[in-house]
Symmetry: C2
Subunit: 148 residues, 2 copies
């Protein structure tokens, strides 16, 4: 991690670290389907999939016209925002985390909307392959860019 | 990668790089179940799981008393050995790769012995979580050792 992280990425980092304390594993910048990239995606030991969208400011939130498209690719959906974010603008039927670059706290749990089994299976495989490939991309940079 | 790799690891590296050219993703040193650690485990885009055991010498092979325990944790099982290895000692109903630290070649395909669906599902989830956690362990070393 560098010291010159963009605000959204600082929040993602805190979220990632917090998910780890919950025994969730996670990836950042994951693409469940072409044209859609999520900030943080988490996977529990039982296979539940969470998406956490990180917004550093109100403008950042307002400019995201497609967040509802994320819902079908997870079992629970959260926002993660900094402490000074006007959280009343966020939809109430979504989860909420307050985060900084070091940690996060879940202040409102997300409703469970289970994905169909076939989609969860495909997503788990895709997560496994993305995480495995990123590892190789770091160890062996001559093998090409790390795909999202 | 360092220049001081153990012989078995050099082979694993070549295997890993070769699997990448087949659009397989892989992890090294993965533990499918307590007490059993495999050298390389690969995952195809369709979810097929391969295990590749890397043996640098005949002595290395002869000292492995539990390789048959690996079979139930994969769909295909391969050995990977260096070019000067006496391959006639290896069981004929297993796959075979010849490898060095840069690449590998499949010289005998492995028979397909499909795992039960529930086991494949559990293994895919475990692979996803292991790969995701290793990534965090590298980026955030204060969060603790990287679990196998």
């Amino acid at each position: 991690m560098t010291d010159s992280m963009a605000p959204g990425f600082e929040i993602a980092r805190g979220v990632w670290r917090h998910l780890d304390t919950l025994d969730m594993t996670a990836l950042t910048e994951f693409t469940p389907v072409r044209g859609l990239r999520v900030d943080v995606i988490g996977l529990t030991a039982k296979g539940e999939i969470w998406i956490v969208e990180c917004k550093s400011s109100l403008g950042d939130f307002r400019s995201d016209a497609k967040w509802q498209n994320y819902l079908e690719w997870c079992d629970r959906f959260f926002w993660a925002v900094p402490q000074d974010f006007p959280v009343e603008v966020l939809p109430e039927d979504t989860g909420l985390m307050i985060a900084d670059r070091f940690d996060a706290a879940i202040v409102r749990d997300a409703p469970l909307e289970k994905m169909p089994g076939a989609r969860r299976k495909a997503m788990t495989l895709k997560l496994a392959r993305a995480a495995m490939r990123r590892q190789l991309g770091w160890l062996e940079p001559d093998l090409g860019a790390i795909p999202a």
